[in-house]
């Protein structure tokens, strides 16, 4: 049965963006109504045509104290839900997205791209994240650009877009904001928090900061800290954005033209890190793009070049460059051990949560040793942990793909947890 969420927080109608500040902003729905969905939990299938509808949002009117020392006076979290919350409110799974992901994780058209959600292979009736059994909450991070408060929103103090005056956000800040969303649904303890990559960092942060509110935690292809290599790649991306004259120190919303070239290059570089050499080679080899011979020039002769350019170009349609800066920064600052006296194990001491840590053999961005470090820390505090390294050559992106071993493992883990939690099989 669907239940009415407890009105723990004041939910007010969403703000309306008055002007169409830039092309990307134009992609966003004009009306951000939190009224329509925020108070009732309903299946997405019953809603209006996805492309026409605004993001579902929760507006939190109490301040969000940030790690940087700054605070947001009020803020908006965009989210989607799939399935139904049971009467005991014990079947909720929080889905945390990766760097450039968003709340559109499941089936249904993305309002900007028109495609299905990024985890549609996992989410649905009878699937691993079974919407007949679980209530899924997919949340957009604060700092993002898909309906949550971020740098392209208006700073209430000035009436102008925040740009670089937006405070720096951390993974812990994202999680702090998500707590209000979970509170909003009246959920004391999440059945599971799950996510890949940066989503996995949020999972670890949830487990460390709110151990009693997490029954099970599944960090996938992730790490408890950002490595020098991770930071290095992010810095390349940020510098590409900043080197674009259209970036204009983050103040580009009124100009009608953002740093699309810079953001595109950032995406191209990052995209390489999400794949693996064998996967790239299998897909493209040295194949030429729509030509028989190389052109002895700098056109996209090779298919892999054409592919990357396409990735970069399509990315700028759905992502804000400043958001990219802020969210990559949040990942860079993530170091769960440092928050706990240098000992990662201290982050999990006494945790009652059941963990399932998953890594992929060909993931060189968040390689297995990073996951293993988390597992060792959990072992050191005798936490309940499972750990699987899935053999695949698909690289970091494997967590977004249909990997049978990955799916079977996750299903088994969730089933086991559901039995412990007393959730009936669907």
């Amino acid at each position: 049965m669907a239940v009415q969420a407890r009105p723990l927080l004041i939910v007010r109608p969403g703000r309306e963006s008055k002007e169409n500040i830039d092309r990307l902003k134009a992609c966003r729905p004009k009306v951000r109504s939190s009224e329509r969905n925020a108070l009732s939990i309903s299946s997405p299938q019953t809603e209006v045509a996805p492309s026409a509808r605004p993001h579902r949002t929760l507006v939190v009117t109490e301040p969000l104290a940030l790690d940087s020392g700054a605070s947001l006076g009020s803020y908006t979290i965009a989210y989607e839900t799939y399935g139904r919350l049971n009467a005991e409110r014990s079947n909720a799974i929080l889905i945390c997205h990766a760097l450039t992901g968003d709340q559109y994780a499941g089936p249904g058209k993305h309002p900007v791209t028109g495609k299905n959600g990024w985890w549609v292979t996992l989410i649905g009736p009878g699937k691993v994240l079974d919407t007949d059994r679980y209530f899924l909450i997919a949340t957009n991070v604060v700092g993002g650009c898909m309906g949550s408060t971020g740098p392209m929103d208006l700073d209430p103090a000035t009436g102008k877009p925040w740009g670089l005056s937006f405070p720096v956000i951390t993974i812990a800040d994202m999680v702090r904001a998500q707590v209000k969303l979970v509170d909003h649904f009246g959920i004391d303890q999440l059945f599971c928090v799950i996510g890949g990559s940066m989503g996995g960092m949020q999972v670890l942060q949830w487990a460390a900061s709110y151990p009693e509110r997490v029954f099970a935690a599944v960090p996938i292809a992730s790490a408890a800290r950002h490595s020098a290599q991770n930071i290095a790649f992010h810095e390349v991306g940020r510098q590409a954005i900043m080197a674009d004259p259209d970036w204009n120190h983050g103040d580009y919303y009124a100009s009608g033209k953002g740093p699309e070239r810079g953001l595109s290059v950032a995406r191209m570089a990052a995209h390489i890190t999400y794949l693996s050499e064998p996967a790239l080679h299998r897909k493209f080899g040295r194949n030429l793009q729509d030509r028989r011979e190389v052109t002895y020039g700098f056109e996209a002769d090779f298919q892999v070049e054409s592919y990357l350019r396409h990735q970069g170009n399509s990315f700028v349609d759905r992502f804000d460059a400043n958001s990219y800066l802020y969210i990559t920064r949040a990942c860079d600052y993530f170091d769960l051990a440092a928050e706990h006296g240098g000992q990662l194990a201290n982050a999990f001491r006494g945790t009652p949560a059941r963990f399932c840590v998953i890594s992929f053999t060909s993931d060189w961005l968040y390689p297995t040793p990073e996951s293993r470090a988390v597992v060792h820390a959990l072992n050191a505090v005798t936490a309940n942990v499972s750990f699987v390294e899935v053999a695949t050559d698909k690289g970091h992106d494997a967590f977004l793909l249909e990997e049978p071993e990955f799916f079977a493992t996750l299903r088994g883990f969730l089933d086991g947890c559901a039995r412990h939690r007393g959730l009936a099989a669907s």
Binding site: A377, T382, S386, F387, R411, G412, F413
Partner: protein, 211 residues
């Protein structure tokens, strides 16, 4: 009732030595099974003895099978992944038929008696008469129904005999609480493990140790 994982594993469905291991473990205890395979012992202990079990397994297929059945198992090996566990974090640490495949069996055993209040170890006895006879008559590395691999493709790199094991326990200062020797049919018999006859007749041995 199935508090921790699936499978209707009655005791008799377990491999012979695992039945004996299972019988040594008190209900409701905390157990770490190193080299847990596909989780047969853990599933049995969880279902029938209310044990809070954890596993460690080297093979990905084994780990995945365990996690699929709802057991808490990590991919790891005894040589590298025991040092993180704090002392006395388990009631029993089990290592069945794996000691001879570790790089540093002594370190593994020391870790086991540190992590667990008890350690349960089973291993093949290289001094079994069939081994001795094979080497004596054939002059080649013995291959038996129980240990069927060739010398060049066996995972077993540190074979020992019952007497060797007892000597190592003495050297480590570990106390042997119980010992069982198993004949070729897997039937347990009771002989003093320090005596030569047990060393000759036992195809496998099973020890319950503590620090």
């Amino acid at each position: 009732m199935s508090p921790d994982g699936g499978g209707n594993f009655a005791l008799k469905q377990l491999r012979g030595d695992l039945q004996l291991v299972g019988a040594m473990i008190d209900g409701g205890s905390r157990v770490l099974d190193i080299g847990c395979g596909e989780g047969e012992l853990l599933a049995y202990l969880a279902q029938w003895k209310g044990v809070d079990g954890r596993g460690m397994e080297l093979s990905q297929s084994g780990v995945n099978a365990c996690v699929r059945r709802g057991l808490s198992v990590i991919q790891g090996d005894a040589d590298h992944d025991l040092r993180d566990y704090p002392s006395d974090s388990f009631d029993y640490v089990v290592l069945s038929q794996t000691l001879q495949a570790t790089y540093r069996p002594r370190v593994v055993l020391e870790d086991m008696v540190r992590i667990g209040r008890h350690a349960i170890v089973s291993f093949p006895n290289f001094a079994h008469w069939r081994m001795r006879l094979g080497l004596l008559t054939g002059g080649r590395m013995p291959i038996t129904p129980f240990l069927g691999a060739n010398w060049y493709d066996t995972p077993n790199i540190h074979f020992c005999t019952v007497l060797d094991f007892v000597a190592l326990c003495d050297e480590m200062g570990a106390t042997i609480e119980r010992s069982l020797t198993l004949d070729s049919e897997g039937r347990p018999f009771r002989l003093n493990p320090r005596a030569g006859l047990a060393n000759l007749l036992a195809e496998q041995a099973l020890f319950l140790l503590r620090r």
